[in-house]
Amino acid sequence: MAVTVRIPTQLRTLTGGANRVEVSAGTVGEVIQALETSHPGFAERLLDDHGHVRRYVNLFVDDDDIRFEDGLATPIKDGQTLSVVPAVAGG
């Protein structure tokens, strides 16, 4: 068992085209570190210079937006999915 990460089109150049990647991690922040290790370049695309999640990146643990949870410290368990969703639409 592991955490599944759903990769949006914009990031699939980093995963060799894969739309899902599995990693071992206990928090959202650790997921990003693990992605960076296995697929270098991830951290820079998701995090700004201060290490915060970029303004137009939305991260969800299953159905929950991490901004309403604990941000990068939000826990994630084996079997759960982290979705990376760019700039959600409006109107």
Partner: protein, 412 residues
């Protein structure tokens, strides 16, 4: 068409004019860039006046080929002087941009007409969207006009009229057990699965949102190619306000207005979903999303507005403000507008008028300004919200004496 390409609204990275909506580098929304020098040679007050009585009269500054336009007549709605309302609010010169007059009764017809025209150009087969209602109506109607299949995703608690006024066009309505923001997120993920689906406010959003610029174009044309001092705009995702800003800038660049003639722009939100107003009030550059919007203004109930931060910068750079109004204030705004000017607006219009009243009382919208308020949707769509607030009368016998007695009583 004078489209040069697309560019990122945040980091300015450049892209070709394809079906792209998000910057690969920083994930910010993209916008359309034009060759404005070439457009300036093609557009003039005369060329506009000779165009169709719809937003397609400004096709030189739109991103799709007008020859293939999906056109139910959206846009070129009346701009009317509102002296009685101005007097109630203590204002001088007030104008109303009456977008209740669009084909499906809201400004969303503007953005959808542009988006589906582009979607057909790009070869998409299905028209889709996440919606708080008005967009669903507009997508369903324009898709019918274009002969496309339509599928819309809505939160389950929408007003019944907005659901019926979508299904009637043959659209598939998917009601989701969640908020609008849940619907929007779902659509972001569906895009990845469904190749020839045009989610107008998502993968077509770059083109779609250009339709909102036509509000600025029309206001300028209808004021004999001059710029108002202040425009008050409802804020949901925020793109209407930021694109009105872009529209005025482009008019300056193509010589239809004096370069740099930008009105003050102010935004209006409901107190029950006010992420941008709250950020404006606390002076920060970035809004905090609202998890559970709770307002009768369902068409504005977007807790995570994509263009919220850009609204803040547009409003601050033009000297405007963002404020909010309670549900009671929204209902008052709807009734005030209807009673003084004969326009029945949906709840978003009540938000605009309610916030206009607040800003006028605070002296932020000033008596010496020429003011335009955007009335973005028709009140018949949300009639059940306002009905309980209206006086009820018991039936009366249809006799002369009974009715005259009633009217005398009413007059007293």
């Amino acid at each position: 068409m004078f489209v040069e390409g697309l560019r990122c609204t945040d980091c300015a990275a450049a892209y070709a004019a394809e079906a792209l909506h998000v910057c690969d580098r920083c994930f910010a929304p993209l916008e359309v860039a034009y060759d404005l020098e070439a457009a300036a040679r093609a557009i003039s007050p005369e060329s506009v006046a000779a165009g169709p009585a719809s937003l397609w009269r400004y096709s030189a500054l739109l991103p799709a080929d007008p020859r293939g336009r999906v056109d139910l007549g959206a846009g070129f709605t009346p701009l009317i002087r509102a002296d009685r309302l101005a007097s109630e609010l203590g204002l001088g010169e007030l104008w109303l941009k009456n977008d209740t007059m669009n084909p499906t009764g809201s400004f969303k017809d503007r953005v959808v007409s542009v988006a589906l025209t582009k979607a057909r150009e790009l070869g998409f087969k299905v028209a889709a969207c996440s919606s708080t209602g008005n967009l669903a109506n507009a997508v369903a109607a324009h898709a019918a006009r274009a002969g496309m299949r339509a599928v819309v995703f809505i939160p389950e608690d929408l007003e019944p009229v907005k659901i019926a006024a979508t299904g009637v066009y043959g659209a598939t309505v998917v009601r989701l057990d969640g908020t609008y923001d849940d619907a929007a997120r779902l659509c972001s993920e569906l895009i990845e699965e469904l190749d020839d689906w045009a989610f107008v406010n998502n993968n077509l959003r770059t083109y779609y949102s250009e339709g909102s610029k036509t509000l600025a174009f029309e206001i300028a044309e209808q004021l004999d190619w001059s710029v108002p001092d202040h425009v008050v705009v409802p804020v949901a995702s925020g793109s209407q306000l930021t694109k009105i800003h872009k529209g005025f800038k482009e008019l300056g660049s193509v010589g239809l207005l004096e370069e740099g003639s930008i009105p003050r722009l102010s935004g209006a939100q409901a107190a029950g979903c006010n992420p941008v107003a709250a950020a404006f009030e606390s002076g920060v550059d970035s809004f905090t999303p609202v998890r559970r919007p709770d307002t009768i203004a369902k068409s504005l109930a977007i807790g995570n507005p994509t263009d919220g931060d850009r609204v803040l910068s547009s409003v601050r750079s033009t000297g405007g403000a963002v404020d909010d109004v309670s549900d009671a204030g929204i209902l008052e705004g709807i009734r005030l507008l209807a009673r003084t000017e004969g326009i029945f607006a949906e709840t978003a219009g009540g938000v605009t008028i309610g916030v206009l009243a607040k800003l006028a009382a605070q002296g932020i919208v000033r008596r010496d300004e020429r003011v335009v308020a955007i009335i973005s949707g028709n009140g018949l769509k949300t009639v059940e919200t306002v009905a309980p607030a209206l006086p009820r009368t018991d039936p009366v016998k249809p006799s002369l004496d009974a009715v005259l007695a009633l009217l005398t009583e009413g007059a007293n």
